[in-house]
Structures are given as structure tokens and as C-alpha cells.
């Protein structure tokens, strides 16, 4: 059952990804991207990462993609249907390179599964499930976030601040 759902989501995700790359208009690409994000969120659920799935949909697909859409509209690119994919030899070359890279990754990933990761998969999954059961979906993530990874968390705060400053500076109109 899970496998079937996974495959379903996977197909949608990959399809969406391809849509991003070949989409004729920016908006089309963006919509394909949202489809991908949504199906990836579905896969998160399959991996019992419910909170992340929610965040994925809310923040990623919701906020960030809307920001993209907003910019596309702002720059009035929504009606730009000229294909800006570089077809031809360049496309072919890129495909070859990407294909070979994919091959290399495939080779690397094929061996995973039992020995691909360190530690015992079942035990780890059980431990996560236990924590989730104990602290709730949000609490399971929040706990390490504010203890072990508090530094990183604060760092993200700073990161966002910088991003805001940067965005403000850059997007200001020329004077």
C-alpha cells in the first residue's frame, strides 16, 4: 500500500519537476513546482514526518511559491510564453551531463537500504515514533530545536534578518 502511494507521489513529483524545467511560462513552471512540493509533502507523511509535511505545504508551497508568483507578476512576466528553454545541442549536452550525473548518483544510492545508512533503521524509526508519541508531532521537533540545536536556530533567525535587510536594500528603486 505504502509503496503504491509512494510511487504515485513520486510520479507526480517527478512529473512536476519536469514541468518546472520545460514549462512554457513562468507561471506554468511555478504551478508544476507546487505540484512537486505537494507530492513531496505526501511522501513526508509516508515517512511519518507529519509536521514537516504541513510546513512544506504551508510555508513552502504556500508562502515561498506565492512570493515567486508575486515577483513574476510584479515583473509582468506572467504572459511571457516564449520558450526560454535552450533546446538543441546545448540541451542535449546538458542532458548527457545530467544523465551521467544521475547515473553516478544512482550507482551511489543503489547500495543503500540495509547498509546504506549508519544505525538500525527499525530502532531509529521506533525511537522517533516514541518521541512523537510522547511530545507530539510539534514537540518532537521543537525539543531538540531549542536545546541541542539552539545555536543553529538562532542562526536561522539572524539569517532571516540578513535576508530581509538584503532584500530591502536590493529591491529599493534606484535613485
Amino acid at each position: 500500500m505504502t509503496e503504491i502511494v509512494f510511487v504515485l507521489f513520486a510520479v507526480v513529483a517527478v512529473g512536476g519537476a519536469i514541468g518546472v524545467v520545460v514549462g512554457r511560462s513562468p507561471v506554468a513552471s511555478l504551478l508544476s513546482m507546487i505540484a512537486t512540493l505537494a507530492s513531496v509533502a505526501g511522501i513526508y507523511v509516508l515517512f511519518e514526518a507529519h509536521f514537516l509535511a504541513a510546513i512544506q505545504v504551508l510555508v513552502y508551497a504556500g508562502a515561498i511559491m506565492v512570493l515567486f508568483l508575486f515577483v513574476i507578476m510584479l515583473l509582468n512576466l506572467g504572459h511571457d510564453y516564449r520558450a526560454d528553454v535552450k533546446y538543441g545541442l546545448w540541451y542535449l549536452l546538458s542532458l548527457v551531463v545530467v544523465g551521467l550525473t544521475a547515473g553516478a548518483l544512482l550507482q551511489g544510492f543503489m547500495g543503500t537500504g540495509a547498509t546504506g545508512v549508519r544505525g538500525d533503521g527499525a530502532a531509529a524509526a521506533a525511537a522517533i515514533d516514541a518521541v512523537v508519541a510522547e511530545k507530539g508531532v510539534v514537540g518532537a521537533i521543537a525539543d531538540p530545536l531549542f536545546t541541542d540545536y539552539v545555536v543553529a536556530f538562532e542562526l536561522t533567525g539572524l539569517l532571516l534578518l540578513v535576508a530581509i535587510v538584503a532584500a530591502v536594500v536590493l529591491a529599493k528603486p534606484r535613485t
Partner: protein, 503 residues
């Protein structure tokens, strides 16, 4: 004092320089915003930022003076390696700010944002140096990068600046994705993102090898991008050329330093046990970088762009230290970064002076006869160039020699030979600037540029930089000991292993 992190307050202590700088950056930002000026002036903000750096330096000094940590496994490292790197960042940022002062004023940039972004980027660099966790390294790198993306595109009036910002951003984000993928794979393979834990896992043999290969490769690619190693360097010349010159200096010096420091910690501490797997990759990258960087620099007609390629080449030299992967090389890397920071910022400082605080006059022809018109700046530039070329008597030589020493210790003879031969190539383009400055007469039309004015502060700083370069070139002992001391114990993390040591 020994930090053990059981108390959160100890995190505050351990991160004192970063925190000071972050807070100060916000302060500068606030002061800047509150003054509501668009361009013009803003020098006092620069001085304010410098004061922040000074305080951070004091904090760093306090940490350096004997604060240690318990266990040496926590997310934030309190070791001399990091603190030494912090010095370098502070120096790099401070020098960049100093050479920015007149530039920002002349170009009417938003000083508050400008200086605070430099400080924030410096914080990101410090995190990269201090992080003992891949994720924190990534976040620090992003903090730094986002700040620098913005700085590169800071001059909205200049389309070259915008173009530089865009290219840097797109490719930087692209490369971050590879880095992140690498982190993910290593995390999976090692079961942790903690460098110490990874090192232990590698040591134990409990690491999962399947993902490790691609993981290490992608990680190396991510760092290689940031240190602009060939073939991940393509952005460098464009961005360096387009960005406002002080930002270029900051990028060339500090961003590279930060990336190298993190690179070193990850590969020489965390992945040291896998040396056999990654050395050859880095070997080739180092070799290609040295060759390509130097060779392409030969055909540049813009000094800024030439210096960009030269910085690529320097990245190649530094990579040799990583390939050598021994304590000497690591110390050499630190020392080189320190020296490199000073001389790079210095050379860009002169470039700014020649450009008269604009982006003009950056073609090599514009330097014709410059030395005789501005003897002091000319001599400074010459020393900077000689130091970049690694000429005896300058710190650049000691630094390069240190790298060679490390390489030799690991018997990397071929790489050493490539290093020295490409150094010869580099002589040509460094000397070319010198020959334009001293051996060519200024064209008749040069009068248009008028007098070049350089603020007193900039001059003082440049002179001090040169003095430091010469002093460190002649009496490098103390600095060398400092660098060597910063490596002490860094790679002994994995208790009782001993594999970390070089031959």
C-alpha cells in the same frame, strides 16, 4: 576557564565574538536606518562598525587567552583554530571596511546596511569556523553568502554590480544545493552531522560506505565552489569584476578564508580517516585550479578581473595544503589565509585608490606611469603584488613556502612542482602591473583623471598592511608559531586514533 555547554550560558560565552558582532551589526543597521540618509557620508557608520570589530576582537582575544571546552565534541568549537580564523575574519572585515569608507561615501551607498551586512557576513564566517556540525556550517555559510550576495549587488546604480549579484546568487545557491546534498548523504552515512561524531564513525569503521562516496564528493564540490576552485570557479571573475571593489576585496579575502577554514575542519578532522578516498580528487582540483587560474589571469586586461583569477590561483595553492593534510600544511593554510587576507585587501585598496573611489580606471593601461605619479601608492601596490606572487622578503613568500613545506612533508612532489611552476606564470601578470606602473609612461590624455585622492585613514591602513607584510616576511617567527599553535590538538580529536597525523 573551561566551557562545558551544560549551561546554555556557556554557549553565550563560547559565541561571544559572534554575538557581539551580530548585536553590533543590528546596532549599525539601526543607526543607519534612523539617519535616513540615502548615500553620501556614512563614514562614521564605518567607524562604528570598526569599533564593533574591535570589541569582537577583544572578545576573541579573551577566548584565545585560555578558554577551553570540555570534550571538544560540541557543536561550537572553542579551539585556537577557530579563534585564529576569527582573527583573520576580523582583520579582513576591518580592512575591507577601511577601504570602503571613501568608496561608500563617494558612491552614495546606504552605509548602514552596507556595514551591517559586512558584519553579519563576518558573523556567518565565524560560525563556519566555529561549527563542529555540518548543519551549522551550512547555516553559517548561508548567512555569509546571503550577506555577500547582497553586497555584490549592492550598488543598484551600477548594472555590473547587479549582474554580479545575480550571478553570484544563482550559482551560489546552486552550489549550496550540492553542499547540502552532500551534508544529507554524510548525515545518513554517519548517522550524525557532528564532525566529531563523523570522525569517530569513520574511525570505528561503523560508517556506511555506500553514501559516503557521493557525500564526500558533493561536500567537496560545495566547498570548492566557495573557494572558487576550478571548475567551480566560473562565477568568480564575473562577480569579482562586477561587485563594488571593496566588496570584491572582502569576498576574495574573507569569504575564501571562511570556506577554507570550514573545508579544513570538515576534511582534515571529520573525514581524515577517508583521506585515501578524497585526496586524489582534491589533488586534481588543486592542480587544475593552480594551472587554470594562473593561465587565464595572463590574458586579462582588467586589473580587477586579473586579481579575480589570481585569487582562484591562490585557492589552488591553498588546496595543496588540504591535499597534504598534515599539521604543517594546516598551519600553513591558516598562515597563508592571514597573509592572503591582508595582501588581497591591500591590493584592492590600491585598486580603489587608482579608480579614485569608483569602478573606473581598472584596466591595466590605466596604471601606466601610476607609480611615478603616486610613489607611495605605487610602492605599496608593488609590495602587495610581490607578496601575492610569493616573493622572498614578503609574507607571501613565507606563506607559500609554508604550504610547500606541508606538501613536501606529504611527499606531494608533483603538486609542489606544479605549484612553483604556476607561481612563475603568476609572476608574469603580477609583474605586468608593476611594469605598467613603473616602466610605462602615462599616456598624454591621463590628465583627465586628475589627482588621485586617498583618505588619510586608508593610506595609513595600507601602509600598515605593507609593514605587516614585510615584517611577517622578514620576521615570521611569531606568526608562524601562532598558526602552528592554532593547529595544536585540532586533529587529535579522535582520541587515541593517530590516523589524523600526516606522515
Amino acid at each position: 576557564m573551561v566551557l562545558d555547554y551544560t549551561s546554555s550560558f556557556h554557549y553565550v560565552l563560547a559565541l561571544l565574538p559572534e554575538l557581539v558582532l551580530s548585536a553590533w551589526g543590528m546596532g549599525v543597521l539601526l543607526v543607519g536606518v534612523s539617519r535616513e540618509q540615502e548615500g553620501g557620508g556614512g563614514q562614521e557608520l564605518g567607524w562604528l562598525a570598526l569599533a564593533g570589530l574591535a570589541i569582537a576582537a577583544v572578545a576573541n582575544g579573551w577566548l584565545y587567552s585560555g578558554v577551553t571546552e570540555e570534550g571538544a565534541t560540541a557543536m561550537i568549537a572553542v579551539d585556537r583554530f577557530r579563534l585564529f580564523a576569527n582573527w583573520v575574519f576580523i582583520i579582513g572585515a576591518a580592512l575591507s571596511i577601511v577601504i570602503s569608507l571613501p568608496y561608500v561615501a563617494r558612491q552614495r551607498l546606504q552605509a548602514g546596511e552596507y556595514y551591517s551586512l559586512i558584519l553579519f557576513a563576518a558573523v556567518g564566517m565565524m560560525f563556519m569556523a566555529s561549527a563542529r556540525d555540518l548543519m551549522v556550517i551550512f547555516l553559517g555559510l548561508e548567512l555569509m553568502s546571503i550577506g555577500v550576495y547582497a553586497l555584490a549587488g549592492f550598488n543598484r546604480r551600477d548594472r555590473r554590480s547587479a549582474e554580479a549579484g545575480l550571478k553570484y546568487f544563482l550559482l551560489g545557491a546552486f552550489a549550496s544545493a550540492f553542499l547540502l546534498f552532500g551534508i544529507a548523504l554524510i548525515y545518513g552515512a554517519a548517522g550524525s552531522s557532528n564532525i566529531h561524531a563523523i570522525a569517530v564513525a569513520v574511525q570505528d569503521g561503523t560508517i556506511a560506505t555506500a553514501l559516503m562516496g557521493p557525500g564526500v564528493a558533493l561536500l567537496a564540490i560545495g566547498f570548492a565552489f566557495k573557494v572558487s576552485a576550478v571548475p567551480f570557479h566560473m562565477w568568480t571573475p564575473d562577480v569579482y569584476e562586477g561587485a563594488p571593489t571593496p566588496v570584491t576585496a572582502f569576498m576574495a579575502a574573507s569569504v575564501k578564508t571562511a570556506a577554507f577554514v570550514a573545508f579544513l575542519r570538515v576534511f582534515l578532522v571529520g573525514l581524515d580517516g577517508l583521506y585515501a578516498q578524497w585526496w586524489s580528487i582534491l589533488w586534481w582540483i588543486a592542480a587544475i585550479t593552480m594551472v587554470a587560474g594562473n593561465v587565464v589571469a595572463l590574458v586579462q586586461s582588467s586589473v580587477k578581473r586579473m586579481l579575480a583569477y589570481s585569487s582562484i590561483a591562490h585557492g589552488g595553492y591553498l588546496l595543496v595544503a588540504l591535499v597534504a593534510a598534515n599539521d604543517t600544511a594546516a598551519a600553513g593554510l591558516l598562515f597563508y589565509l592571514l597573509v592572503y587576507t591582508v595582501m588581497t585587501v591591500g591590493v584592492f585598496g590600491v585598486v580603489i585608490a587608482v579608480g579614485n573611489q569608483t569602478e573606473e580606471n581598472s584596466r591595466i593601461e590605466d596604471y601606466a606611469g601610476f607609480g611615478w605619479r603616486q610613489p607611495v601608492l605605487g610602492v605599496l601596490m608593488t609590495v602587495f603584488l610581490l607578496s601575492l606572487a610569493g616573493f622572498p622578503g614578503t609574507a607571501g613568500f613565507i606563506a607559500k613556502y609554508h604550504l610547500l613545506l606541508g606538501a613536501a612533508q606529504s611527499s606531494l612532489w608533483v603538486l609542489s612542482v606544479i605549484l612553483v611552476l604556476t607561481t612563475v606564470v603568476s609572476y608574469w601578470y603580477y609583474l605586468r602591473v608593476a611594469w605598467y606602473m613603473w616602466m610605462k609612461e602615462a599616456p598624454e590624455t591621463a590628465g583627465a583623471g586628475g589627482r588621485i585622492t586617498t583618505p588619510f585613514a586608508t593610506r595609513v591602513v595600507l601602509v600598515v598592511s605593507v609593514a605587516v607584510i614585510l615584517l611577517a616576511g622578514v620576521f615570521p617567527g611569531a606568526a608562524l608559531d601562532l598558526a602552528a599553535g592554532s593547529i595544536d590538538g585540532l586533529r587529535d580529536l579522535v582520541a587515541g586514533s593517530g590516523v589524523a597525523a600526516g606522515p
